[in-house]
Amino acid sequence: MLRLENVFKRYKTGDLALKDVTLEIPDGQVIALIGPSGAGKSTLIRCVNRLVNPTSGKIFLGDTELTSLSSGALRKARRRMGMIFQEYALVERLTVMENVLSGRLGYVGFWASWFRKFPKKDVQEAFRLLDRVGLLHMADKRADELSGGQRQRVGICRALIQNPELLLVDEPTASLDPKTSRQIMRLINELCKERGLAAIINIHDVLLAQMYSQRVVGLKAGELVFDGPPEGLVPEVLTDIYGEEDWEATIEEVDEDDEELLVEEAEVVA
């Protein structure tokens, strides 16, 4: 369970990015965090694993209070949170396998990681995850040889091999085309279900947010303005979050006929 209590974040520039955010996410729940650019979505999830330090407030992961951890304890706590990035953030000059294994860095010593000597079960798990996302044959390729969708899948493997309790997902589809976006969102969703993972997914695509989450949280100028089920995103709410716009076209029901696309693409790359 993740709990944020009265979290504030003010950057050195003076911008108040988060204003008194209180939020609780039970185990296994996938929530979508929506809001316009600059609303503080990224800051919020970065505060959770403290890539950004909150100015005040408390964040608990289970019983651990993340906000007061020393750097050693913080590293241990970070192992419990996998993060997936907007621009994939793979280390481009490392192989796919190294990128996946880098998710275990918090568990192995420096020299073991330097010589790429990871425990056998980590290596096995890495292969299993790559197979799960359909990239087993790419293990020895360098990350910069992959397409956007493939890179994001490697990013997902890197986060999952940490064996986390929580996934922090920052705009996973911002650099992808619509079809790949859906595939990636579905994959994240399936994996969360398989493993009973909680996830916070930052996403600016309202449609995808509705399709792939159990709960939607709306953020506007650093403040929580909506918290409810996906069906609750009526035009009035969206206007409140994003501003005036014709929202009827966006909240259309989506048909679920692209199930075979994932399989199709996996065959193409194989």
């Binding site: 192989t95 396998m97 190294e98 294994l101 790429r116 990871f118 056998k120 079960k121 290596v123 096995q124 890495a126 292969f127 299993r128 197979d131 799960r132 293990a139 020895d140 398989e194 399989v263």
Partner: protein, 276 residues
């Protein structure tokens, strides 16, 4: 899909693919490198005995940096000598930059393929090649033979070095200048000089001013070196101090050189930004 993968067996070992995939080639390379270093070290004539004896002297040299001193071992003040040497180097660097640039303009124009006929081009390119290949210090020994000891020889050497540097970059800049601009001016009926003045010059000028600053910077550094082979300037003073084992003076001179080089580098970088 997940049910299938749960049953699969996956390898529990993984090795990063090696940098060179062909194993024979890879090992050949390793062996070659090992053999090279072994022979290199084996054939180096190093007098360890002498080096060992020099260590206390090295310590003395390092110690004399803290604090630097302005009197030599006989207690004579050398501030004046150092200032003279530095000024000499500075004047030498300035003059060499000016003379070198003035001379390199015709050479650079001649070495631009889009500007000059083949014989002129080849002639100018060979001037550039020669002056670029040999370090300023080698040019300086010849200049010393011809003009005698002193900063004039250094000046000649640095000027020639400047020609090689500046003319080459100028020629390259001209060769890559915009063809459409060049043609536009040409079709107005301008003669060769008007054409260079109106079409080429505006395109290459800003970068050339920046390079001039940069070269001034290099010339000062080199002016400290040509003195070692008799080309005058602060290098001369420095060498004399070493020959007298006056390490405290050498240390002071080195610090002065470092300070000037750094300030020149910063100011030339700043000026370059300001010009462009």
């Amino acid at each position: 899909m997940s049910e299938v993968s749960a049953e699969k067996k996956f390898p529990d070992r993984w090795k990063k693919p090696p940098f060179i995939s062909n194993p024979t080639l890879r090992w050949l390379l390793y062996v070659a490198v090992a053999v090279y270093f072994a022979t290199a070290f084996g054939t180096m004539d190093i007098d360890w005995q002498r080096a060992w004896e020099g260590l206390p002297r090295g310590a003395e040299f390092l110690a004399s940096f803290f604090p630097p001193s302005l009197t030599d071992s006989n207690g004579v003040h050398v501030t004046g000598t150092i200032i003279d040497g530095i000024l000499d180097s500075i004047w030498m660097a300035i003059l060499a930059t000016v003379a070198g640039i003035v001379l390199s303009v015709p050479v650079g124009l001649g070495a631009a393929r889009n500007l000059s006929p083949m014989p002129v081009y080849l002639f100018c390119r060979s001037i550039i090649a020669v002056s670029r290949t040999f370090p300023e210090v080698i040019l300086a020994i010849f200049a010393v033979k011809l003009f005698g000891f002193g900063s004039f020889a250094g000046l000649v050497a640095l000027s020639i070095g400047t020609i090689g540097f500046f003319a080459k970059l100028l020629a390259e800049d001209i060769e890559t200048s915009s063809t459409s601009q060049n043609e536009a001016v040409k079709v107005t009926g301008a003669n060769w000089f008007q054409w260079v003045n109106y079409a080429i010059q505006p395109q290459v000028m800003p970068r050339m001013i920046g390079l001039a600053m940069y070269r001034l910077d290099i010339n000062f550094r080199e002016s400290a070196v040509v003195g070692i082979v008799g080309g005058g300037g602060i290098g001369d003073t420095l060498k004399t101090s070493f020959e007298r084992y006056d390490f405290s003076i050498s240390a002071t001179i080195l610090i002065v050189i470092i300070v000037i080089v750094i300030s020149l580098e910063y100011s030339s970088g700043y000026l370059r930004k300001w010009v462009q």
